[in-house]
C-alpha cells in the first residue's frame, strides 16, 4: 500500500494555558477529500494552521509527500505542493482578477530582482504561459467578473471562486480548504461542490474544514471528527451520524 500523502502524528499546541490541540493523529490518502469537522473550538483551524506552516506545533510531526515538514515556513510548504485557502476572503484586493491568479504561478523567474531588472525578455515567455493557464482557470470556474476587474470589488461568492482558482494556479498536490463554503449562497455551494469533486476525480487531494454537514456528507470520505483538541472518531459521514459520542460532542458544543 502506498504511504498516505499527508500524515499527522501526535500533534499538540498550546495558546497560553489553553491546550487547543492535544495528541492529534490522522492521515490524508492521495486522491481523497478528507473532511475535518467538529464543534467550535475543537481545534480544527489550529490543525490546519499547523499543517500549512502558519503555526509551529509544541510537539508532534507532519509528514507530507515523504518529507517531515512540521515547523517549516508556509512559503516552503506551498512550494512543495501544500497550499491552503482561508476562512475569510483573502483576495489581493488592489490586484486585478487575473493578476491574483498570476501571482500564484510557481517558479517565476521574473520575481527575481536581477531578472526583473534585466528586462521583459527574461520572463516574457513564462509569463505568456502563465496568462494562458490563468485564463483557462477563470473560464473553468466561470467567474463572471472580467479578468481586468479589481478583485476587491468582487462579490463574496466570486471571491470564493477566485481564491479556489488562485490556489490551483499554485499547482498544489494537497489543497487545504478552511471553510470554503462560509458565507456562500446555496446555489453557489452546489457549484463549488461540483468543482471540488471534478478536481478530486482529476487526482487532487484535499483536506477540508467545513461546518455545513450536508456539504461534508456529499464531498468528504473519510471524515475526521474533532472535539476539545482531540480526534473523537473517523469514518464515512453515514457511520458518524449513528455514533453517539459524535452526536453528544456536537450537541454539547
Amino acid at each position: 500500500m502506498t504511504p498516505p500523502l499527508l500524515s499527522v502524528r501526535n500533534l499538540a499546541i498550546n495558546f497560553g494555558g489553553v491546550q487547543a490541540v492535544r495528541d492529534v493523529s490522522f492521515d490524508v490518502v492521495e486522491g481523497s477529500i478528507t473532511g475535518l469537522i467538529g464543534p467550535n473550538g475543537a481545534g480544527k483551524s489550529s490543525v490546519l494552521a499547523i499543517v500549512s506552516g502558519f503555526l509551529s506545533p509544541k510537539s508532534g510531526s507532519v509528514t507530507f509527500d515523504g518529507n517531515e515538514v512540521s515547523g517549516q515556513a508556509p512559503f516552503r510548504l506551498a512550494r512543495l505542493g501544500l497550499v491552503r485557502t482561508f476562512q475569510l476572503s483573502s483576495e489581493f484586493e488592489r490586484l486585478s482578477v487575473i493578476e491574483n491568479l498570476l501571482v500564484a504561478a510557481p517558479g517565476q523567474s521574473g520575481e527575481r530582482l536581477r531578472d526583473a531588472l534585466a528586462g521583459r525578455w527574461r520572463w516574457r515567455d513564462q509569463e505568456a504561459a502563465s496568462i494562458e493557464r490563468a485564463r483557462g482557470l477563470l473560464d473553468r470556474f466561470e467567474i463572471p467578473a472580467k479578468e481586468d476587474d479589481v478583485a476587491g470589488d468582487l462579490s463574496g461568492g466570486q471571491k470564493r471562486l477566485l481564491e479556489l482558482a488562485r490556489a490551483l494556479m499554485a499547482e498544489p498536490k494537497l489543497l487545504l480548504l478552511d471553510e470554503p463554503m462560509a458565507g456562500v449562497n446555496p446555489a453557489l455551494i452546489r457549484r463549488i461542490e461540483s468543482h471540488l469533486l471534478a478536481l478530486r476525480d482529476e487526482g487532487l487531494s484535499m483536506l477540508m474544514v467545513e461546518h455545513e454537514l450536508g456539504v461534508v456528507e456529499r464531498l468528504c470520505d473519510p471524515v475526521i471528527v474533532m472535539a476539545q483538541g482531540q480526534v473523537l472518531s473517523s469514518g464515512t459521514m453515514a457511520e458518524l451520524r449513528t455514533n453517539q459520542e459524535v452526536l453528544d460532542a456536537y450537541l454539547a458544543g
Binding site: 500549512s52 502558519f54 515556513a73 508556509p74 512559503f75 506551498a78 512550494r79 497550499v83 491552503r84 485557502t85 482561508f86 483573502s90 483576495e91 489581493f92 484586493e93 488592489r94 490586484l95 486585478s96 487575473i98 493578476e99 491574483n100 498570476l102 501571482v103 500564484a104 504561478a105 510557481p106 517565476q108 521574473g110 520575481e111 527575481r112 530582482l113 531578472d115 526583473a116 531588472l117 528586462g119 521583459r120 520572463w123 509569463e127 496568462i131 494562458e132 479578468e147 481586468d148 479589481v150 488562485r166 490556489a167 494556479m169 499554485a170
Partner: protein, 328 residues
C-alpha cells in the same frame, strides 16, 4: 532669461529631480510593497553623507575646521555609486531587524524611532559627523573638468540630475512592471495569502526596502553635491512625511503618481515657496508651508483617496485569434 532667473529655474529642476528620485524610491517601498518607512529621510541623509565624505579631501585640510571620516577625494561618479550602496546596505541592516517578524504598524513605529535616534546620534557624534554644524565645502562633480561659468555649471548639474533620475525611473519601472512588482503588491494586500501561495514574504519586502533605500541614498548624494553642504538639521523626520504626502497626493502605487506628487508637494509647495517674502512673525511662512502640505494631503484623501493617478492593475493583451478554432 536673466542669470538670476536661470539660477532659480535650474535650482528648482535639480530639486525636482532629487524629489522625483526619492518619491520613486519611497513609492516602491510604501506604495508598491506597503512598507511604512518613516525613516526614509535617514537613508537619503546617509547617501548624502557618504557622497560628501568621499568627495571631500582629508579632514585635516583647510585647517581641520570640520571633522569627518574617510575624506577619500574620489572622482565622479564613484561617490554617487557609493551613496546608493550605503543607502541599500543600511536598509538591509534595518530591514533584517524590522521587517522579519513585526506587523506593519509596528514596523512604522520602529522606522519613526530609527529616524529620531539617527538625528540624536549624528548631532552628538561630532568626530564622525561634525555635530549639528554638518559638513560644508563639499566639492561638486566635474566642476573643474567642465570649466563652465557658474550658470553653465548649474545647467550641467541639471543634466547630471536628470540622467540619475531617468536611471532610477528605468529601475523602478522594470520592477513594478514585472512579476516581482506584482508579488510585492500581493504581499502588501495580504501577506498571509501570499505566503500560502509560495511567496517568500520577508525576502520580497527586503528587496523592495533595499532597492528603495539605494535610490534614497543616490537622491541624497545628488542633493548634497549640489548644495555643497550637509547638515543633520535638514534631514529631520518631518521631511519623510513630505515624501509620504507627495506619494499619497500623486497616487500611491503608481510611478507616474510619484513623479506628479514630487512636483506638487516638495517642489511646488516647499521649494518654490521659499521665495515668498517673509511676513508676520519670523518663521510664519515656513510654518504655513507645513500647514499647506497637511491640508493638501487631507483634501486629496477626502476627495480622491487613491491620489491623482491611482494604481492601475496591469492589463494583458489577448493573443490574436483567441476563442476561435483555427484549422491548419
Amino acid at each position: 532669461m536673466s542669470s538670476s532667473m536661470q539660477f532659480y529655474v535650474s535650482n528648482l529642476l535639480v530639486y525636482l529631480g532629487v524629489d522625483v528620485m526619492a518619491c520613486l524610491g519611497l513609492n516602491l517601498q510604501f506604495g508598491v510593497a506597503g512598507l511604512i518607512n518613516f525613516a526614509f529621510i535617514v537613508f537619503q541623509a546617509a547617501g548624502a553623507y557618504t557622497a560628501a565624505v568621499l568627495t571631500l579631501g582629508p579632514s585635516t585640510a583647510m585647517g581641520g575646521f570640520q571633522s569627518y571620516i574617510i575624506g577619500a577625494h574620489l572622482p565622479f561618479p564613484l561617490p554617487f555609486l557609493a551613496a546608493a550602496v550605503v543607502g541599500g546596505a543600511l536598509s538591509l541592516l534595518v530591514g533584517l531587524v524590522a521587517l522579519r517578524r513585526l506587523r506593519s504598524d509596528y514596523q512604522a513605529m520602529v522606522m519613526l524611532v530609527i529616524s529620531l535616534i539617527a538625528t540624536t546620534v549624528v548631532t552628538n557624534a561630532t568626530g564622525l559627523f561634525n555635530g549639528s554644524n554638518g559638513l560644508a565645502l563639499i566639492p561638486q562633480p566635474l566642476k573643474s573638468t567642465l570649466g563652465l561659468s557658474p550658470v553653465g555649471y548649474q545647467w550641467a548639474y541639471v543634466v547630471i540630475t536628470f540622467v540619475c533620475t531617468i536611471l532610477v525611473w528605468v529601475v523602478v519601472r522594470r520592477i513594478t512592471g514585472s512579476p516581482l512588482g506584482r508579488a510585492l503588491r500581493a504581499v502588501r494586500d495580504n501577506d498571509a495569502a501570499a505566503a500560502a501561495l509560495g511567496k517568500n514574504v520577508t525576502q520580497l519586502r527586503l528587496v523592495a526596502f533595499v532597492t528603495g533605500g539605494a535610490i534614497a541614498g543616490l537622491s541624497g548624494a545628488v542633493l548634497a553635491q549640489f548644495i555643497t553642504a550637509w547638515s543633520p538639521g535638514s534631514w529631520l523626520f518631518p521631511e519623510s512625511f513630505v515624501y509620504f504626502a507627495a506619494i499619497i497626493v500623486g497616487g500611491s502605487g503608481n510611478n507616474l503618481g510619484a513623479i506628479v506628487g514630487a512636483a506638487l508637494v516638495p517642489v511646488a509647495f516647499l521649494e518654490a515657496t521659499r521665495y515668498i517674502p517673509q511676513f508676520g512673525y519670523p518663521g510664519l511662512v515656513d510654518a504655513l508651508q507645513w500647514v499647506v502640505v497637511g491640508l493638501l494631503t487631507l483634501t486629496v484623501m477626502w476627495f480622491r483617496p487613491r491620489g491623482v493617478f491611482p494604481e492601475r492593475p496591469q492589463r494583458f493583451a489577448r493573443p490574436p485569434g483567441h476563442g476561435t478554432e483555427t484549422k491548419t
